[in-house]
Assembly symmetry: D2
Homo-oligomer: 343 residues x 4
């Protein structure tokens, strides 16, 4: 049964495995001090345009979030996040477990903006309440939507003016940067945030996320925090090798673009067949709305998440494509949909 359930159902892109194989028996320093990690960091620094940026690699996204946020805040300081934000709902209280409240904000599309943050600052005005200090965004969001350059600039300026830190969770950052007509680059992500992550796991790596830090205060003794939270791999090389491969040429972006393209093709075909969408997403997660009977029949042939019941008879489902999805997988789905929907 084919899975459109997520973008981590397979292992790694062949080039990633090849690279791991290629350097396998070369001895290297442990804990991310190996030459591959240094090379990968260097490549990322070049793309972000600042030789002073710090780059760290960690095995998973929840770790990157909790290490970075805990490194950034004093005990009474809190995060502001969309109520759909990963840290707000789907990390089992990882941030609270480091002692910090996540203030969640209702958004339509998973995106924060100054006008949504402003009331939070107004409300949290004295020492009987936590102090909002870090704005957490995900790009793309958990709903597949992306920030435009203008939106990021506005957030950046607002955060600067309010002494707020801006952190972007890029678990699927490739998808955000390679949408059609994207005007946001790695360089923008760097210059407009205090720190952001570049997800590997969901874009063809075996595992691994890069964290890029611009803010000097957050940089300080950061490896201590990585170690303390258990995110410093003894064989850090396996993260370095993968990210070095990703950014030695355009592999990282090519894989993300492939996933986006196939998702949008699938969306286009469904739209042509009369499907509406729960939300308009340009990335590799799409949310078509279908009659329940159709959903049921499709679920006998494909795995996917049902997302939300939109009315008595209709449900939005989530379909996710990845670097590993093939054109024929799309066509199979469409074929099944036509049969199920009778169109």
């Amino acid at each position: 049964m084919y899975r459109f359930q997520d973008d981590y159902s397979e292992g790694a892109h062949p080039r990633i495995l090849d690279a791991l194989q290629r350097y396998n028996m070369i001895q290297e320093e442990g804990y991310g001090l190996d030459r591959y990690s240094q090379e990968a960091a260097q490549r990322i620094r070049e793309m972000t345009g600042d030789p002073e940026g710090d780059v760290h690699f960690m095995p998973g996204g929840t770790q990157v979030n909790l290490v970075t946020i805990d490194a950034s805040l004093r005990p009474h300081e809190a995060c502001v996040a969309a109520n759909t934000g990963h840290i707000a709902v789907h990390e089992t209280g990882a941030i609270e477990a480091t002692g910090h409240k996540v203030i969640s904000v209702d958004t339509g599309d998973g995106k924060l903006s100054p006008d949504l943050i402003e009331p939070v600052l107004k409300e949290h005005h004295f020492e009987h309440m936590v102090k909002p200090r870090l704005v957490y965004i995900s790009n793309p969001t958990e709903l597949g939507t992306v920030y435009s350059l203008r939106e990021l600039q506005n957030l950046h300026e607002y955060c600067q003016s309010q002494n707020l830190l801006l952190y972007a969770d890029g678990a699927r950052l490739g998808a955000a940067l390679t949408v059609k007509d994207s005007d946001v680059t790695l360089k923008d992500m760097y210059s407009l945030t205090d720190a952001f992550s570049i997800g590997g796991t969901k874009n063809g790596a075996l595992l691994g996320e890069a964290l890029v830090i611009r803010n000097r205060e957050i940089k300080k003794e950061f490896r201590y925090l990585i170690k303390q939270k258990g995110a410093l791999l003894a064989k850090g090389r396996i993260l370095g090798i993968q990210f070095s491969e990703f950014f030695g040429d355009n592999l990282y972006f090519d894989l993300a673009r492939h996933a986006n393209t196939l998702a949008q093709r699938l969306a286009g075909e469904l739209r042509n067949l009369g499907c509406s969408f729960w939300i308009d997403s340009p990335t590799n997660q799409i949310f078509p709305v279908m009659p329940e009977g159709v959903v049921e029949r499709l679920s006998e042939q494909f795995r996917f998440h049902t997302w939300v019941k939109v009315d008595e008879q209709h449900t939005a489902i989530r379909l996710v494509t990845s670097w590993a999805t093939k054109e024929e997988d799309i066509q199979n789905f469409i074929r099944s949909y036509r049969t199920a929907a009778g169109c």
Copy 2:
């Protein structure tokens, strides 16, 4: 420059990489619910002899320690550990970061025993002090020493009688179980502890540790804790595949035995050449004592840790072998030693 610095200087054993390659494009459920993780868990359960044991896989050893300990303790409860224990010195306060004190005990050889724990319990007798509740041992210890079956039984009985939990960090467990004349098995580790780990990273895996839990209270909702601490990999399959390969036959033990054998051969030859040892270790970490000049000359050809200055003119160094060490690496070292020491 050849490294005897640690047992994680290379990538993975070829069979591990092959297995990852073999199943790479098969789609699987995420977060450790894949078939490989289930198969690996099943194999480990069989070796520990209890179909009710819980097995979880996590990327790193510090994570396994902090997740397990935090899952086991109420806020005022503390760990007891040898002062050389990994959690006591080399995990950047990972346990304290979850809120729990580590009470460290001076031992000669890195091993805890009832007579060393008894005074801790006596001292911590009322609510103005933390309550010792979990005994942390590592097997082998950070000094390469191992527990005999009798010693483990004594600890187990003592802990049971004092309502203490016993947790064994097995980051190098293979080395402990395959020393010459070993009388401890995986089954013993299971039946004599409340939980213990089986390290993969230092025994030929790319990364990964298995945690095996016998105690019912610790088992409860354990996956929540794994997720909260960021130790639940989206592609849990890559841990499952490796451990399934390890325990499909005797690979795990063969690799550990190989490392032990070469270390002991190296130790034997050094001993024959007049070298004394800082501590007597039967595993893959050995601690020869050498004149400083010799250490200096060897360090131009090999990487290793200098461990401790034993007197004005002598230093103990640590030499670590691994699954990847070859007979010729040993011989090269001996040759260099003879030159350096003039013998």
Copy 3:
């Protein structure tokens, strides 16, 4: 300028000060093991009807909340609270600082009920989300409303059926139990919750809150937790003496009833003068709605909190009476109101 700002603007009721004076030079054991604390605990146990109940005294309400909640939860477990609940908004993330998320629920009147908790349980269904485990209510609520016996019974039954702990913050418990036609007693509070507090600070004590625990799991080694969080006073006697005085006769309830009576008299007179109320509260906090001009003029003579703007021209203010409020203070306010409102 007279304060209707809160119920802790004065020191302590004279009988409280007298009692402290009376026993001042008698030597006693420290840390709450003195005879007064034991006597006070005994008196409270008698009123709650269970000789097995545990009673502890702590200096402040935030402490009682954080100690109790941290003692009750495993790391991945969370609280459910009204979004107006003290722990949710006005304790500077005290609960999160112990590692636990507070899931806040929108209520009209500050009160939780099974139908408001049910969706939270439904939503938090797997290990990627925190596990709701403790229901936090305040009685009276931060809006001055109270739970009826039936409402508490429903909550109790629901929590039991869902394996949820029920904890009641009684910072102003006296006010809840002495409202007109109250059908809830200390005995009910005890038998229907796992733990609840009896606030002293806001009812005429110098400082101090009693915590009463029925649940055996929470009771365990509880003094360790009190000490760890800094809530174990060396001179615990000063809490014991006060609560012993409170519950030696009906002082505790008399003071609360006095505050309620004056607040309701004030509310009645304002209502007669045409004032409407933002919320209907039977306790010592009332929320009259007034034209902004009137609020402004009154604020030149009295201190109180403006609560919320209800429309372009009207604001709800909060007026709080206490054990120390006198009939003439009420009449002064009414007189000023009539002048300000021109009625």
Copy 4:
């Protein structure tokens, strides 16, 4: 049975109770913003000589320690303390509960010095270990010893040179500053530390400790941390009133000097009678060594702590005097000692 057990066996000094009585019915702002707290802070600032110093009042000493230390450290940073230091042994892991390791150092007399701290810094040299950042001293120490001005200056200079924070727990600070030939003043405590506390509970207050902060980084938004840890009393006035009374004239020092004087008189008489001492303490805690039989007989008439067995037949006991001890209490003890010891 008279208690030489501690210095908090009675209530408060009569002047303290009188002051609480005097201002009892005056309405004041809550949460430490009352006029008495401001006045007390102002008096302390004047004595420390810096109008910029921050002064906060909290109910208990463990709170002051944990709030201050948590406010001062990033997550990976640790405290260094004597192994007899209160935070190291007798606060139930309060500091670890905020996430920070306490590195304890063996001292003879409870006092830290640069040469004792130096090896800790040397050992903790990389990111696999916590980073020592704050030096915790108590003055007087838990063994009754005190720091000389020269010793404090050395510590201060050393900490400055090593980028370490210096925090002094002054739970019995009065006793330290009023020993015979003392050369340390409040002004010195202020200028030589980053923060220090002035204990009230053990010097005649009902309860309460003052925290004085010189370091700007620690000062920042400090009230948020006080509130978060539950240390912000609603009726902060009761702390302000007491400390204002303490420092309106020399009451604070007079009470401490009284306790010291009586303890030293007791020590002198015991010494004259042939008693030796476990440690030489100039403050209100003394540690005479007595034959076990004598200890036993005395314990039928007096309460005190047996401290440590010094040899087969002798035990050191701890005798504590306070503001409330009277000359006749001393004489009674001496009389009983003579009888018990037969001299």
